[in-house]
Amino acid sequence: MNRTQTPAALRRHRQRGAISLITALIFLVALSLITVAGSRVAMVQHRIAANNARADTAFSAANAGLQAAQMYLVANRSMMASGNTGGWIAGSGSALVWTHCSAGSTTPPCGDGSRNLYGSDWQFYGPVPNLPALPGEYQYQAWYLSNTLDSDPAYTPFTGCLNLSLASTLPVVGPLTGAAVSAVNGVLGSMSTVLQGLLGVALPLGLGNNLCLPVNFSQLPAVAPPSRINPGIEVVAQASSASDATGAVARTRVTLQRISIFNHQPVAGIMAKGTVDLTGDIRIWGNPRPPTVPPNDFSLLNLNDVAGLNVTSLLGIDLNDQLIDLKPLLNLTGAQILALDANVTFPLSIWSAGAVTLHPEPAQVNGGTLGGLLNGLGLGGLLGGLTGKLVPNPNILNGARTCLPQWAGATDSPCTPLSQSVQILQGSIAPATTTGGQCIDWYLSLLGIKLGCKTYAPVITTPQNPPSDTSLQLKLPDIQDPQNLVSSVTGLLGSGGVPAFPGDLLDYSFGTPAVQADTLKAAATVLGDCSSLDANAAGLYWVTGNCTLSGNIGTSEGPGVDANPVVIIAGGSVSLAAGSTLNGVLYLYGGGTRTVTGPTAAPRATIRGALLADGNLSMSGTLLNVVYDQADIRAAGFLAGSFAPLAGSWSDQWSAP
C-alpha cells in the first residue's frame, strides 16, 4: 500500500484542519463581539457613574459659590449700593462696579452660554472677588445680578423728602433738577420767615441741617424713587474643572432676600423695659419723615389716611396759601399741596414698662404747650421755626406717668395715671362745614384770587381742654402695629387696646431671646469701647465696655446721601460728646439701671433713630435730642441685617426672569 500522500491529498488534509481552525476563529470572533458589546454596556455605566460624580462635584462647587457670595454680600452690605469710597455703584471710583448686561449677551452671568437670560436693564457685579477657593480641581465663579439698583450718576436718588438745608443756596434735591431747583430756591429765599420756619429752613434746634419736609411721594410727579435698599439680589454661580475643559459645568442660581436685623422695628423714640428717668433738656422728637413702606410703617397714624383732614388748620396757618406759589415749580395740584403738609405721622415718644419721670430742666423753663403737642404730632420739623424750643412730647405709654413738673408744678408731683385708652392728642375734629372749615379745593385760584370754595375740610382744633363731646375727640393710640392699622378717625384705638410692653425686649427687637444673646454678639463686630466708631461705621456693633461717642457715628439717610446708620448694642453706660450724632439705634443690653449722658454745653448731642433699654433708663445731661427716625431705623436694620436665600428660588437651570 502506498502510504505516500499525493500533494492534493495533503492540501485536502490541510484544508480540513483549516476549516476547524476557521470555525474556532469564528467562535472567537463571536465571543469577542459579545465581550465588546458587554463591555460597552459596562463602559457606559462607568461613564454615567463618573459623570455623576463629576456633576456632584461641580454642583457642590457651584453651591459653594452661592454660599460664599451670600456671606460676601452680608460683609459688604454697606458697600453694595453705595457710591462712597469702596462702594459698588458706578462713580464710586472702585475698580469693580455694577455693570449693565450687554443687550443679548449670551455669556455668563447675563446668559447661559447659548442664550440671553438677563436683559440690558439688569446689572451685574462680578465675578465676585475675595471668595475662598475650594480644594480640588473644581472651582467656581459667582456674580450678583440686580435690576433695581440706581447706578446712573445723573439720576439723583429721591428718598422721599424734600431736603431743605440751612445753606444759603437752599438746595432742593429730589424730583427737581436744574432750573426748577434754582427757581424753588429763589422762592424759598424770598419766603417769609414764618414759612421758612414751617419748612424747617430756619430750624434752630441743633438737629443739623438735614431735616426733611414730609412729602407724600406717592403723589409726586412721575419720578420713581429708586430703591437703594434692594429687596432681592440674584446670585448666579458657575463651577467647572480648572484642568478639564470638557468636564462638567454646573450653574446654580438663587435669589437672596435682604433681611432686617429687626424682628420689630422700634416703635418709639425711647423704649425701656423698666422705668425712664429724664433729667435736663432732653428733647424727644417725632418722626421728621413721611412713612416709608407700609406695613413696615409703625407710625401711629398717617393723616392722609383720614379723608379730608387738614393739618394746616391745626397749625392755624394756611400752608395752602403759602405754598401756592410753589405749585407750578413743584408741579403739584392743590390736593397734593395739601398732602404735602398733611402727611405727618404720630410716633410714640416713650414706651416703657415702668413709670416715666421727667425732672425739671435746670436753669430754664421752656416749652409751650403748642410746641409739645405738635412735636407729638411729628411736626417738629415743620414747626421748628415757630417755637424756640420743644420739650418732650406727651406721648408716653406706661403704667403710670409723672407730669412735666414745669407744667404741673414746681416739684415732681405725680399726676393722674393714664388709663389704658390713652388719649394723646387733646384735639378734636369738627365736621366739614361750608363756612367754618379749611378750604381744601378752590373753584379758581389764580394769583392769590380765589373764587369760592369747592370743598371744605374737617377742622381740627387744638383746645387746651378736650371737648366735652367725646365723639369729636381725635383719640390716637400710642402704638399701632401693622395688624391693627387704622383707616378712619373713629375707632382709632382699635379693639386690641394698648399692647403690653414686650417681655423680652431683645427678642422683640432682634428676634433673639435674651438667653441666646451670644448669637447676636457672634454676628456683631465686638468692641471694647466706642472710640473706633465714626461716620463710616455701619452695621451691628456689640460694645462690651463703656461707650463714649463723639462726632458723627454713621450717617443719616437723605437725598444724595448713602446712609449707613448703625445698630449699637452697649453693655456699659453711654455718653455723647457735645455736637455728636448717633445715627441709628442704640440698645442698652442687660438689666439694672442704665445711663445715657449728654453734653452739658452746646452744641446738642443727638440720637437719631431710637434708644432702647433692657432695664431702667436714666438719661441726664442738658443738651440731648432723641429723634425717632423711621428711615434711619429701617436702613440701620438692613445694614446690620443679612441676606438669606428666598425659599424656592434655588435652581440649577437658568431660565429667563
Binding site: 484542519g17 470555525t23 457613574a49 463618573a50 454697606s78 475650594l134 457672634a522 454676628a523
Partner: protein
C-alpha cells in the same frame, strides 16, 4: 475515507483549535474581570458620592448658629464633628470614622473643615479668628469617603463645598 486522514485530523487539529479557543476565552475572561471590576468601581464611586452628598446636606441643615441654642448649630461644624443627632440622642446620625455598609460594601466617612471670617469690606476672608472670636462667615467642608473595592484596593472620593454661617431664623423672618 482512509485511516491515515482520520488519525491526523482527530488529534492535532482539535488540540490546536482548543489551544486557540483557550487563549481566546482566557483573554475574554481577563477582559470581563477588568470590566466587572471597573463597573464595581463605578457603582462604588456613585455610592460614595451619594454618601458624601448626604453628609454635606446634613452639615448644611443646622438649626441655629451658636452651640447650645439648638440640637445642631453651625458652630458645631468642625473636622469630623457636627451634624444632626439621632432623634432623642446625642449620637450623630451620620458620624465620622465609623464603618457602615451600603450594599455589602463597607464605607467610612471623614470630613475636614476650614473656617473663613469676613472682617472688612471688599477684603478676602481671614482664616484665623479675629478679636472677639465671632462665628465664621463660611466653613469650607471637604467630605472624604473611603472604601475597599472588590479587588481589595482602597478607594476614596471627596466632595467639597462652602457652608454660609447665616442664621436660619433670620431667613424665616424674610416672610414676615
Amino acid at each position: 475515507m482512509n485511516a491515515a486522514t482520520q488519525r491526523g485530523f482527530g488529534l492535532i487539529e482539535i488540540l490546536i483549535t482548543l489551544v486557540v479557543i483557550a487563549f481566546g476565552i482566557m483573554a475574554h475572561l481577563t477582559f470581563q474581570r477588568v470590566t466587572f471590576h471597573e463597573a464595581g468601581l463605578a457603582v462604588g464611586r456613585a455610592k460614595a458620592a451619594e454618601v458624601a452628598q448626604e453628609k454635606l446636606e446634613d452639615l448644611t441643615a443646622f438649626g441655629c448658629l451658636k452651640t447650645g441654642d439648638c440640637a445642631f448649630a453651625f458652630q458645631d461644624i468642625a473636622t469630623d464633628a457636627g451634624g444632626n443627632p439621632v432623634s432623642g440622642g446625642s449620637q450623630l446620625e451620620l458620624p465620622a470614622a465609623t464603618a457602615f455598609l451600603v450594599d455589602n460594601s463597607s464605607y467610612t466617612r471623614h470630613w475636614t473643615v476650614t473656617n473663613y471670617w469676613y472682617t472688612a469690606t471688599n477684603s478676602a476672608p481671614a482664616t484665623t479668628a479675629p478679636a472677639g472670636a465671632p462665628l465664621p462667615s463660611l466653613k469650607a467642608v471637604t467630605v472624604s469617603i473611603t472604601w475597599t473595592d472588590t479587588n481589595g484596593d482602597d478607594q476614596s472620593l471627596s466632595l467639597s463645598t462652602l457652608i454660609a454661617g447665616a442664621d436660619p431664623a433670620a431667613a424665616a423672618r424674610a416672610f414676615q
